[in-house]
């Protein structure tokens, strides 16, 4: 038992050492053989032109409204888990309440659609 455990650890250690030696070897070969081991810093490549401005910029993330709509329906699904357990006992009023709730959410979706939140073209 102890032997098996020891040999298991020995195997792991061997793999770690081999890996470390391999990585260190590759790194050493690179340092010693590359013509310029430090590497080159270059401007971003713009088809041969100098960048007129930094690419750090505000851009339109069109998935935000879609994400929010998804979250709304996700939370709504959370409400529906307890609801399905009691809907049979409570009866018609529970069904009506849930569908009114769904309807309100759906109105939001229709509004967002009218505002063009989902148009990707």
């Amino acid at each position: 038992m102890a032997d098996a455990a020891t040999s298991g650890w020995a195997g792991l250690l061997a793999v770690l050492v081999l890996g470390a030696v391999g990585v260190a070897g590759a790194f050493a070969v690179h340092r010693l053989t590359a013509v310029a081991p430090r590497g080159l810093t270059a401007w971003p490549w713009l088809s041969g032109w100098h960048p007129p401005e930094h690419a750090l910029s505000r851009y339109h993330a069109r998935w935000y409204p879609v994400t929010v709509v998804f979250l709304a329906f996700d939370v709504e699904m959370l409400f529906m888990y307890p609801w399905v357990l009691v809907v049979a006992d409570v009866g018609v009023s529970a069904v009506v309440e849930m569908f009114v709730f769904l309807g309100v959410l759906l109105l939001g979706v229709l509004w967002a659609r009218r505002e063009g939140a989902f148009s990707w073209q």
Binding site: V29, L32, T33, V35, A36, R38, G39, L40, T41, A42, W43, W45, L46, S47, G48, W49, H50, P51, P52, E53, H54, A55, L56, S57, R58, Y59, H60, G116, W120, Q121
Partner: protein
């Protein structure tokens, strides 16, 4: 230490040179040279690089004219060592040039001297601060095309050093996200080149291969390249037949298919049936490729995606008037403003592979396309724009001195543009709002 590493360095260098990546730059008029380089690269197992960082060697095809120097030096400075460069003005120079590249890449002393002599950090990189990272300005805002939100726009030049892109073409775009807001066309000139009608089929196949590569259909692109390289090249006779080059009689009476494939009908007759049989086979192969392109579902899917900003400034009330003024013109060059860009790309691609379609005056077609491009690209995303430019087969070597003067790079970069376009943008944006709410 260094002495003992020499053999290892040689082994590594030889192994690396077997798969050299080459950044190809084509100046107008350098088409034949580039094709020859590509063919020689394929024989050596070398491959084309997609950017300077990916490249071991820089090969300039053709004879770059004014304005190229700065572009080439900047590109060259972005190649990491070991690096090598060559210029190939004519196909005959290709074997020597590639041999020279390989020798230079294998020469450790040359590469070490080169590496020691260059700045590993460009001299014009400044420390910068939060508002000026690396000494660059931050992007400025502008109304977004799609929904009028103010987003940052970037000025991004496309070309001339760009794979699968017309020789010497510079498209100075202003991008909002990935959508072109404005574009301006410039052409960096090359050496004037007489058009050889016999090259037409090979050039079409080359353009088709570029479109297919951009669309991700690498196997079809490779097939188009193989067919391009298999097109019987009547190079020997291109100098001694003034009678059938630009004569209006031959260009208007020949059967397009024959004319395209047999620009040298006189030599053809002299060498007998072998050449003709080869041409027939070649034409059959092109038809077969066209069929594959037409049937490929993946390609159709890639070129079907809806991509156009429908509420671009040109699609409002004004657009009803604009196409009416020159609809035939636009449709002639494959730029129907009312169709989707990738539909255009597909149509143009199939047209390139249709040897029955005639292209009597490529010069006129290309001038019209270059004129129409800036407006056509407004509202188009970058990928579709690159596909469209490739599919238009813009042979910039057909442009004459006047065209080149009109399309010469201008110093007044984009500040002028934005200032005189601002008033237009305001009204367009206004119109666009009305459109969206209506």
């Amino acid at each position: 230490m260094a002495v003992s590493l020499r053999p290892l360095q040689r082994v590594l260098a030889r192994w690396a040179v077997r798969g050299t990546t080459v950044l190809l730059v084509e100046a107008p008029g350098g088409w034949a040279a580039r094709v020859a380089v590509e063919r020689a690269m394929a024989e050596r197992g070398w491959r084309a690089a997609s950017s300077p960082a990916d490249a071991d060697a820089l090969v300039v095809c053709g004879t770059p004219g004014d304005g190229w120097g700065e572009v080439l030096e900047r590109t060259w400075a972005q190649l990491p060592g070991p690096r090598a460069r060559a210029s190939v003005a004519a196909p005959s120079e290709v074997p020597g040039a590639l041999e020279g590249l390989a020798a230079s890449l294998l020469d450790d002393d040359v590469q070490r001297v080169d590496a020691a002599a260059r700045d590993l950090v460009p001299a014009d990189v400044e420390p910068g601060d939060d508002m000026h990272p690396a000494g660059l300005e931050l992007a400025g805002g502008e109304d977004d095309l799609r929904d009028g939100l103010e987003m940052d726009v970037l000025r991004v030049p496309l070309g001339p050093v760009l794979p699968d892109w017309p020789a010497g073409l510079v498209l100075r775009t202003v991008l909002s996200g990935d959508v072109v807001v404005r574009a301006r066309v410039e052409v960096l000139p090359g050496a004037p080149q007489r058009q050889d009608p016999a090259d037409d089929v090979a050039r079409r196949l080359d353009a088709a291969a570029q479109v297919l590569r951009l669309a991700g259909a690498d196997d079809l692109a490779a097939r188009a390249v193989r067919l391009r390289d298999a097109v019987p090249a009547p190079r020997t006779s291109s100098t001694d037949r003034p009678e059938d080059a630009p004569s209006p009689r031959t260009s208007s009476t020949h059967r397009p298919q024959r004319g395209a494939l047999s620009g040298t009908s006189s030599t053809d007759r002299r060498e007998g049936g072998a050449g003709a049989a080869q041409r027939r086979r070649s034409a059959g192969d092109v038809r077969e490729l066209r069929g594959r392109v037409e049937r490929s579902r993946v390609l159709a899917w890639a070129l079907r995606e809806a991509d156009v900003v429908t509420s671009s400034p040109t699609s409002g009330a004004e657009s009803d008037a604009a196409p009416a003024s020159a609809p035939d013109d636009l449709r002639d060059v494959g730029l129907d403003a009312r169709r989707r860009t990738r539909d255009d790309v597909r149509t143009l691609l199939l047209g390139l592979l249709d040897l029955d379609a005639r292209d009597d005056d490529p010069g006129r077609r290309i001038r019209a396309a270059l004129d129409a491009l800036p407006e056509r690209l407004v509202g188009v995303d970058v990928v579709s724009a690159r596909l469209l430019v490739a599919a238009l087969d813009l042979r910039t070597d057909t442009l004459d001195a006047d065209d080149l003067a009109a399309l010469a790079p201008r110093e007044d970069d984009s500040d002028d543009d934005s200032s005189d376009d601002d008033s237009d943008d305001g009204s367009d944006q206004h119109m666009h709002h009305g459109h969206a709410h209506g």
